[in-house]
C-alpha cells in the first residue's frame, strides 16, 4: 500500500466534523451501500457479519434492484433512508465510488467507510479520485475512513463492519487492547490470531490510505478512553509527526502501553546523501528515536506486539529484569539461556530460599536458574 500525503487538512473552508470518533466507533445506525444477499460479494458478507454478530443499531441495506436484503427492507438510494445513518460502508465498485460518496454526504451520513482500492495507492488517476473524496469530506464535514481499508470491528458494540472471512465465527472476543492498522488485511489477521491466543481486542480499526481520518485521530481517542488499556499500531506512514508524538506522550502520561510496528526500516535514508548524518539517520531512525523518547515500544512482528501488549495489560509492572527459565530438557534450558543472554536479558539470580526449596525436588546441579525438570530427584 503506497502511502501518500495530502494537504486537504490544511485547506481553508473546512466544514466542522459531523460526528466524532467515539460515535464512528459506536454508531447507532449503519447503511451498507452495495448490500447483497450473496456472501460471495463484499456487500453480502458485510450484511451477513453485521447481523450474525448482532449489531444492535439500525441497519439500512442500499441496493436499487432489491426490495429486501437479509430479511430487511432495502432502500433504492442512501437519500431514501428514514434518518441519516451515523456510518455508511461502501461496497461499490471503484468507478461508482466518488458519486456514491457524494450521495452519502448529501444524505447527511456521519462517516463513510470506504473499502474500494484504486486510489492514492494506484497512480495518478487514483490520486485524483482520492482528492475528490478528500474534497467531499472537507466541504461536507462527513468523515472518511479509508479508502483501501477493511473497515472496523468493535466487539463490545457487537459491530463487525468488515467483510473478512475471519468474522465467520460465533464470537468476536472482547478485551482492552485496541488495534489501529493502516493495512486492512493485516488488521483482520492480527485480530484473528489474537483471538486464537485467547486475547480479545477492544477495537480492530483499519484505515487504509488515511485520506481523511488518520492514525492519530484514533490514537488520541484511545489514549483518553478509560476502557482501552493498551494500544497496538501498524504504521506505514504518518500524516503528522508532531501530532503522533503528542498522542504518544498522552498514552505515556496515562500509563497505557503503546506498541507499534512500522514498515520502511530498510528504505535508504535520504535519496541524495550529502552527509553522514543523512545516511546514518534516515526517516525510520528519526521515528525510532522519537518512539524511544515517548516510550513507544517498537516491534517487528505484529502478533508478537499484541501478545506483549496482553502481558503488559495483565502485569503492568514494574518488575525486576531477571527471567526464570524452566524446561523439561537440558537442550531447552541451554538454547533459552544462550538466546536470553545474547538479547541482553539477564537470568534471575535466585534467592537462597528458592534454591533450597528447589534442591528438595531436583538434583543439585539443576536446582538453580535455569531449571531443568529432567534432573528430578
Amino acid at each position: 500500500m503506497k502511502h501518500v500525503l495530502h494537504t486537504a487538512q490544511a485547506a481553508a473552508g473546512k466544514a466542522a466534523p459531523r460526528i466524532d470518533i467515539g460515535r464512528i466507533l459506536h454508531p447507532r445506525s449503519v447503511a451498507v451501500l452495495g448490500a447483497s444477499d450473496s456472501i460471495d460479494k463484499f456487500g453480502g458478507r458485510i450484511m451477513h457479519f453485521l447481523i450474525r454478530h448482532g449489531f444492535a443499531g439500525d441497519i439500512y441495506p442500499i441496493n436499487p434492484r432489491r426490495k429486501e436484503i437479509a430479511g430487511r427492507p432495502a432502500f433504492e438510494r442512501i437519500a431514501a433512508v428514514p434518518a441519516p445513518p451515523d456510518v455508511a460502508i461502501l461496497a461499490v465498485p471503484t468507478g461508482h465510488l466518488v458519486q456514491s460518496v457524494e450521495e452519502a454526504a448529501e444524505a447527511g451520513v456521519g462517516c463513510a467507510v470506504i473499502i474500494a482500492t484504486g486510489f492514492a495507492e494506484a497512480g495518478e488517476d487514483g490520486e485524483q479520485r482520492q482528492a475528490s473524496l478528500v474534497r467531499i469530506a472537507s466541504e461536507s464535514g462527513m468523515r472518511i475512513v479509508g479508502p483501501n481499508c477493511m473497515g472496523l470491528i468493535v466487539p463490545h458494540h457487537r459491530m463487525a463492519l468488515c467483510s473478512s472471512v475471519v468474522l465467520n465465527t460465533d464470537t468476536l472476543g472482547d478485551g482492552s487492547i485496541s488495534l489501529v492498522s493502516q493495512s486492512g488485511a493485516l488488521m483482520v489477521s492480527i485480530f484473528d490470531r489474537a483471538k486464537t491466543d485467547g486475547i480479545g481486542l477492544r477495537y480492530g480499526i483499519s484505515l487504509g490510505n488515511q485520506s481523511d481520518l488518520e492514525i492519530c485521530d484514533f490514537l488520541e481517542y484511545l489514549a483518553d478512553e478509560p476502557e482501552t488499556a493498551a494500544i497496538c499500531l501498524y504504521i506505514e506512514g504518518l500524516m503528522n509527526g508532531a501530532r503522533f508524538r503528542a498522542a504518544a506522550a498522552r498514552c505515556r502520561a496515562s500509563g497505557k502501553p503503546l506498541l507499534a510496528v512500522k514498515t520502511g526500516r530498510t528504505e535508504a535514508g535520504v535519496a541524495a546523501v550529502r552527509s553522514h548524518t543523512a545516511s546514518l539517520a534516515g526517516s525510520f531512525e528519526a521515528f525510532a528515536a522519537v518512539c524511544r523518547e515517548e516510550g513507544v515500544v517498537l516491534a517487528t512482528d505484529p502478533d508478537d506486539m499484541v501478545r506483549a501488549a496482553h502481558f503488559l495489560v495483565q502485569h503492568p509492572g514494574p518488575r525486576p529484569p531477571g527471567i526464570a527459565v524452566i524446561s523439561g530438557s537440558g537442550g531447552g534450558t541451554g538454547i533459552a539461556s544462550d538466546r536470553l543472554t545474547e538479547l541482553g536479558m539477564p537470568l534471575a539470580a535466585l534467592s537462597p530460599t528458592t534454591s533450597a526449596a528447589l534442591e528438595k525436588m531436583l538434583l543439585a546441579p539443576q536446582a538453580c536458574n535455569p531449571v531443568d525438570l529432567g534432573g528430578r530427584r
Partner: protein
C-alpha cells in the same frame, strides 16, 4: 515457586515433550497464570504437542510454538520496562545562546566553512584555531603565525568529502610542506572536479585528542531536528555505531546516548585508556541541538566531524564543519 522468587520478573518455559505432557503443561500454565508475572510458554514439538497446547490455552495462557516467538515477546516487555524507567527530562535552553539573529543573513545552500564557524562559535562551541588563505604563499605565512605542525584544507562549497580527494593534509611541519601541499590540492581538484570552485585554504593548528567524534544533525520533515552522535572521523561509515535522538537535548540525554553506544567503553576508558571528556561532548551536543532547534526548517543538515575530544577535563574542539541551509 520459582516464579515467586522476588528476583524473578518474568518467566520462560520451554516445554519439550515429557511424560503426562498435556496434564503437566496445563499445571505449569496454571502456575504461570497465577504467578502475577508474564510467562512465555513454548511448546516445541509438532502435532504431538497439540494436547499440551490445548491445555495451556484452556488454562488461559498464550501458547508459543517456537523459542524465538517467546523470546521476542519477552524482549518487548523488557523494552517497555526500560522505556518506562527512563526518566523524562525536558531540555532547557542554556544561557547566552544568540538565537535567530545569528543566522538571519545566511543564504540558502551549502555554507562556507567560515560561516559555519561563525554560527557555531556564536552558540559557544569551541573551534580549532584557523586562518584563511587565498593562495599557497598566504597559507605558508598563516602556518608560520599559527606554529607548526599545521593542518591544511582546501576551502570549497562544491567538495563534500574532502579527505577522499586528498583535500585535507595533516601534520605539515614547515612552510615548504604547506606550499607544496596547497599546489597539489589545486592540481588534484582540477582533475577530480573540474568545475569545483576552490575559494582558498584553511590553515589550522593540529589538535591532539584522544578520540574523534561525529556530531550531526538534520531536519526531518516529520519530526524536526534529528541528531546523531558516535565515534567519527573515517570510522563512522565503517562502524555505523550511532546514537540518534530528537533535538533539542539535555546534557543528561546526551550522556544516555553515549552510554547506549556499542563503543561506549571507548568513551569511558577501556583497557587502561583515560576516559574521554564526555561532559565536553554533552556541552557541544546540547548547544548544537539548540542551534538546530532555532534554525527549524531552515536547516538541511549540519555536521561536525571530527569533534576532537580530549581526556576528562580537557575539552572538545570542533575541527571540520559543514552545513546546508534552505
Amino acid at each position: 515457586m520459582l516464579l515467586a522468587d522476588p528476583e524473578v520478573g518474568s518467566g520462560f518455559a520451554v516445554l519439550t515433550s515429557m511424560p503426562f505432557y498435556a496434564r503437566r503443561a496445563g499445571l505449569i500454565a496454571a502456575a504461570a497464570r497465577d504467578s502475577g508475572k508474564p510467562v512465555a510458554i513454548v511448546v516445541t514439538p509438532g502435532a504431538a504437542g497439540n494436547p499440551a497446547r490445548h491445555a495451556i490455552r484452556e488454562a488461559g495462557m498464550i501458547c508459543f510454538d517456537r523459542f524465538e516467538e517467546g523470546l521476542s515477546v519477552l524482549r518487548l516487555i523488557a523494552d517497555h520496562d526500560a522505556l518506562t524507567r527512563m526518566p523524562r527530562d525536558r531540555p532547557s535552553r542554556p544561557a547566552g545562546l544568540p538565537g535567530k539573529a545569528a543566522f538571519a543573513g545566511l543564504v540558502p545552500g551549502p555554507q562556507a566553512e567560515s560561516e559555519v564557524r561563525r554560527l557555531l562559535s556564536g552558540y559557544g562551541v569551541s573551534l580549532v584555531g584557523t586562518r584563511q588563505a587565498t593562495s599557497a604563499e598566504e597559507a605558508a605565512n598563516a602556518a608560520r603565525e599559527i606554529g607548526f605542525p599545521v593542518a591544511l584544507k582546501a576551502v570549497s562549497r562544491d567538495i563534500m568529502h574532502k579527505s577522499d580527494l586528498g583535500m585535507v593534509r595533516l601534520g605539515l611541519r614547515d612552510a615548504a610542506a604547506v606550499t607544496e601541499a596547497a599546489s597539489e590540492m589545486l592540481a588534484r581538484a582540477r582533475v577530480a572536479i573540474p568545475n569545483a570552485r576552490i575559494e582558498g585554504f584553511a590553515v589550522q593548528e593540529m589538535v591532539r585528542g584522544e578520540a574523534e567524534v561525529i556530531v550531526g544533525i538534520r531536519h526531518d520533515s516529520e519530526f524536526g531536528p534529528i541528531l546523531v552522535l558516535g565515534l567519527g572521523g573515517i570510522a563512522v561509515e565503517i562502524l555505523r555505531d550511532i546514537a540518534v535522538a530528537a533535538a533539542p537535548l539535555s546534557r543528561t540525554a546526551v550522556h544516555r546516548m553515549i552510554a547506549g553506544l556499542r563503543t561506549a567503553p571507548l568513551f569511558f576508558g577501556a583497557r587502561g585508556r583515560p576516559p574521554l571528556d564526555t561532559e565536553a561532548i554533552a556541552d557541544v551536543v546540547e548547544r548544537v541541538s539548540w542551534l538546530a532547534a532555532d534554525l527549524g526548517s531552515r536547516l538541511v543538515d549540519l555536521e561536525i566531524n571530527p569533534l576532537i575530544v580530549g581526556t576528562r577535563g580537557t575539552g572538545a574542539v570542533a575541527v571540520d564543519l559543514r552545513a546546508t541551509l534552505r
